[in-house]
Structures are given as C-alpha cells and as structure tokens.
Amino acid sequence: MISRSSVLLLLAVMLSALPVAAQQPGVSDTEIVIGGSNSFSGPLAFTGEQITKFGVDLYFKVINDAGGIHGRKIRTVYYDDAYRPQDAVANTKKLVEQDRVFAIIIPQGSPPVVATLDYLEENKVPLLFPYQSSPVTRGKRYVMQGMTLSDRSSKMMIDYLAGQRKVKKFAALYQDDEYGKSFLTAFEKDLGRYGLKLVAAESVKRGVTDVSAQVAKLQAAKPEVTFLVLVPGPGAQALKERQKIGWNDTIMVSTGPLTDERYLSLAGDAAEGVEGLSLWPDPVSSDLPGVKLYREHMHRYFPQNEPNRYSIAGYCAAMLFAEGAKRAGRNLTRDGLMAAFESFKAYETGILPPITIGPDHETQKQGFWVRVEQGRFKQMTDWLKSE
C-alpha cells in the first residue's frame, strides 16, 4: 500500500537529487568540499598540521565568515598518511571516491605526492599546490605546483652567486634522496653555464644527524660556498660542526626548503652569517601587506599558534584556490577551475611576488636572498628571477 505522502516524499527526494547529480563532485548549492592526505603523524607531522589546520583552514575561516565563494562555504577533509605512500594512495582514493572532494589541496612530500599523481591525473581531479620541490609534478594537466621547484631554486642561487657575486668554488652537502639529488643535478647544470663545477659533494642519508665526516671532507676541498641541501636537523648539525672545527672561510648557503625558522633555532649562534634562498617572506617580521594580514588572521583565529612559513604556505594555497574558484564562477567545475587558474596574470597575494600562471602550471618561481643576523633572516636582495 503506497500512501500519498510517501509518493510525495519520493518525488521530493528525486527532485532534490537532480541538481546535485548534475553538479561536480564536492560542489553543492551551499558548500565546496576539498581535502588532502598529509602528515599528521610521522617525521613531518608538525609541518603537516601547520600547513593544513593552521594555514589552509585559517584562510578558509576568513573566507567563510565573509560569506564564502559565490554563496558556498568551503569545507576541508584531511587524512593522516604518516608520510607513507600507500596510506597516501588509500587516503586520496577515499577522498575522491567516498568523500567526493572537488580537489586535493597541498599534500606533503615527494613520495606520497608522486604515489597519487597518476591516479589524480587519470580521474581529472585537480592536485593543487603540492608541498614538495621535485619537478615530477611539472606540466601535468590537472596539477598546479606550489613550492618553487628545485631546478628553479638552483638557477636563482647559481645566477646570484656565480653571476653577481663572482663566486668560483662551490661544494654541496646534500640529502641522499629525490630532494637532494634533484638539486645536485640542477647545480651541476647551472654551474656548467658559467664553466664551473662543484669542487666537492658529500651525501647524507636521510634520518642521519651526524655529519662530521662529510663536513671535514668538504673543508679539505676549500670551497668558497657550501650549499646545504638538507632538512632542519642535519642542516643545523652541519652548522654546529662547522663552528666546532673553526671552518670560517666558506659561506654556508641553505636551499629554499631548508631556509626556515626551525633550522635557525636548532642551529642557535652557529647560524650567524649563514646565507640562503628564502621562498617566503619572513612570517614573523615582514611588513608586506599580505603577511601582516596573515598575522592578524592567525592572531584572531588561533592566538596560541605562532606564525611560521608552513602555515603561511597553506594560507597562500587556500588564497589561490579561493581566487581560482571565484573566477570560475557560480557554475564551478574542475575544468573551469583549471581554466580560471590559467587566467592568472600578475595576481597580487600581498605575500608572494605577482603570480602569473602559464602552461607550466607553476605558481611560485621566485625566492630572495637572506643572511642570518642576530638569529633572524635578513633580506639581502629583491625577489630573484628563475625564468
């Protein structure tokens, strides 16, 4: 026996289901759902939490409180992968197939990101601003790269040091993985343009903090500049070792991913005079309007959380997503979003230099030179170019 009310209910359900079915995954009348797999446990847990909960979500809180994007609030879903590629694959499949997210935002680390790259590209799901610097993500149809890629960082570093400051003898202390090797290859290529070569290169296994043997060998090669392609722990250890053995006639230079506050605080006074390429303006002291606004927002929503460059990276990623979604219009689709990103011409974030997105889909291509003075990074140059 079918009652009239149940027929009406059925009709209502069917009608309400219709517009949803016509829309993109993750986009409803009132909401946009995006998400990502990130490190909330494991070696990069601090970075992962800062990027997502205190970075991406911070900016979305601001946007949502101001009414959202074309009337839709943004909701985020994150899963922990503990830096394990297989967990990243499982999480990403779950986000796409179960949570039906519209896009993946700022997942962290080369192995977890590369593990999901083909799957996302096949399923035409936008992979937005992955927090890793290996060039494997370049030129994909549905990827927008975030962090400055290693070959661009290398070009800026060598052009500045060999070109402007006429340094001739370079050495490198690098982590023995994709991160370290992609930098090493790029250094050799860029030095080649100046007719130069690395005079020494020593590798450090990932997870190892004792670098004394490598530092001693590098000292013997007498380089004017020693690149540190490491993560904060061993990076700071290299500086302390250098101080201990009294090796003063080399300038230690940190890569973009290493130049952060954690490395600085771990190294203490051994960091004095150290130089590096910074991919972000100083989150604590910069006077740029966007950075000031970021600190204001952080103070309003998460007063307990110190500003740092991980959360500012997530904040910036969310800002770019919001701008892209705004430009894509009320009828938001994945292809529409990608097209909207490609329309970015000198877009001002107030944090990074103006962003123009070309066919390479890279949003960050610049960095500037810093030197450590009294425990803080002091800006030495304007934004350097990598084109």
């Binding site: 797999s37 909330f40 446990s41 847990a45 939490e49 909960k53 879903v77 994150y78 899963y79 922990d80 992968d81 503990a82 830096y83 394990r84 590629p85 297989q86 967990d87 694959v89 499982a90 999480n91 499949k93 779950k94 197939e97 179960q98 080369s110 192995p111 977890p112 590369v114 593990a115 083909d118 799957y119 023995d176 993985d177 994709e178 090797k181 296994k205 990932r206």
Partner: protein, 316 residues
C-alpha cells in the same frame, strides 16, 4: 552449517565489487593482502612461537621483486611474477632463518627488527634497480590478453591468490607439519623428545612465512602502484604483529579477522589526524586486556565451538 558459511563467504567475496563502492573494493584488496601477511606471520609466530618484527622487510622484498619483474619483463604473466616474488623472498627467509634459529624470544625479535632496517637500506643502496628514495611506479600487470588496470580486476587477482594461500595454510596446519610446528610452540624440549627436528621445522616456518609475505608484497605492488622505502617502515611490521595478536595467535581465521580489523581501523582512524596513533594504541591495549586470546578465540567462546583447548604462553 560449515559449508553454508563457506558458500556465503565465497558469494560475498565474488559479489563484493558489484555491491560495494569502488573505494571499498580497493580497501578489500588491501585487507586480503594484509591477511596473507598475517597468515604467513602466524605460521611463524603463532605456530612456532618465533616473534618477527621484520615482516615489512619481507613485504618490501616481494613488492620490489614483483615490481621490477613487471617493469623489466612486461610479458611475464602475473602468476609467474607473483610466484617468483614469493620464491625470492623465501630464499631470503631461508638465509635469515638459519642464523636466527640460534636466537629466541626478545633476541629474535631484535634480529628481525634489524632485518627490517637492513632491507630499507638495501633498497636505498640498490638505487640503480629500485630507484631508491625516488620511488618506483609499478605499471599495470598483464594476465594473458588482459591488463589488470582497474580496482576490480586487481581485486579478483588478490582474492584468488588469497583463497589459494588460505586453503594451503589450512592444509599445512592439519598435516604432520602443522602439528609438528604447534608442538614446537608448546614446548621445544617435548617436541624434540617426540622426534621433531627442531631446526628443520623452525627454518621451514621461516621460509613458508617469508614466501607468503613475498607473494603479498607482489600483490601490494600491483594494488598500490607505487613503492618507496617509506612504505615499509617499522610501524608496518608492528601493524602485522598487531593483526595476529588481535586476531588470535595460531589461528588462520584469526589472521584474516585481525588483518580486516587492523586495516579497517587504520583506514577509518586516518581522519583523526594527530590523534590516530593514540586512539589506535588505546584500542589495541583494550582488546589485549579483554580478549587476550584474540578475536578468533573470543568468537569461539561466544559460539561455544572452540576448536582448540587453551594454550599456555598466551601472555607473550
């Protein structure tokens, strides 16, 4: 009754990809892969009382072997590459098993723990073959005219292999070999007195365990599609041990149930982000306190159909 249960189980497994959403097909494949590892580990730990914290290492060897075979010899049918992955891993298991026979309890656990780290280091050192930390992308495997490119295709492959290995394990456990292994577990001295060659059976357990884990590794490579040393950390080995303890030591059904519980738990706790390890640990401790014999024996108690008498040494 028993046959009806088996038939229902088989029907669910076969029909699953049509009834369940795509993600759960993938998840079921992972559960089955972990179940194969858990059975392998249980043959070692549950049956002969040798605890291993290095099974992520065996899984890595099987996974890399199958992946490299699939890349270098794309014409090779999947069953052959899986079998080879199992055999390579079994050979390593033999090499590790012989010296480890001299170790017991904690010392064996330490040696296998070290083995897990050695495997990761070896993967890094052999980067011309394994691509080291860059990771290895695994192409879709071929089976005759078909390419196993969908979650459903891979699911059926995994389930077929898992079914074969479960049947094999049940048979092993019921033969003289299985009883000999159990006897070793209960008391090594008594087993020796009954004419069981201790060294031979312990080595056998190691080799069979490694074989199972190697085959599971091959399936893991195909299902996940990407391998990196980061995949095989020590916590994965601990997860495997957790599976057999939660499921039930010395029980094949327990291995499967334990694998299902731990895999599902890991998956559903991913959303708790920073709290995942905390909640996971709390659940493990609770289940150990309330079900010391594992889920299999707890289920047995409820249905009153316990197949085995209680054993000593459960407190490990």
């Amino acid at each position: 009754m028993r046959q009806a249960a088996l038939a229902t189980g088989a029907a669910v497994v076969v029909g699953w990809p049509w009834a369940a959403p795509r993600y759960f097909v993938f998840l079921a494949s992972l559960i089955a892969i972990n179940a194969i590892v858990a059975i392998g580990l249980n043959l070692l730990s549950g049956y002969t009382n040798q605890l291993s914290f290095g099974h992520a290492g065996f899984l890595a060897i099987g996974a890399y072997a199958a992946a490299i075979l699939t890349i270098r010899a794309p014409a090779l049918p999947v069953p052959v590459s899986l079998l080879l992955a199992g055999l390579v891993t079994a050979a390593v298991g033999l090499a590790l098993g012989i010296p480890c026979l001299r170790l017991e309890g904690l010392y064996l656990a330490m040696a296998t723990l070290a083995f897990g780290f050695v495997v990761v280091e070896a993967i890094l050192s052999l980067d011309w073959l394994t691509r080291g930390n860059d990771g290895l992308r695994v192409p879709a495997a071929r089976l005759g005219p078909w390419t196993l490119a969908t979650d459903t295709a891979r699911y059926y492959l995994v389930m077929t292999v898992a079914a074969l290995l479960v049947v094999a394990a049940v048979n092993i456990s019921r033969t003289r070999t299985g009883r000999a292994l159990l006897a070793v577990r209960e008391s090594e001295i008594a087993a020796q007195a009954s004419g069981i060659h201790l060294a031979a059976y312990k080595t056998l357990a190691f080799v069979v365990s490694a074989f199972y884990t190697g085959v599971a590794g091959g399936l893991f490579a195909l299902v996940v599609g990407f391998l990196s040393p980061d995949s095989f950390d020590v916590f994965l080995s601990v997860d495997f041990v957790a599976m057999i303890i939660v499921g039930g030591l010395g029980s094949i059904l327990g291995s499967v149930v334990g694998a299902a519980v731990i895999t599902t738990l890991n998956d559903s706790l991913a959303g708790f982000q920073n709290y995942r390890p905390l909640i996971f640990g709390a659940i493990l401790i609770t289940s150990m306190v309330f079900m010391p014999g594992g889920i299999a024996s707890a289920l047995g108690k409820i249905s009153g159909a316990r197949s085995r008498p209680p054993r000593q040494g459960e407190d490990r």
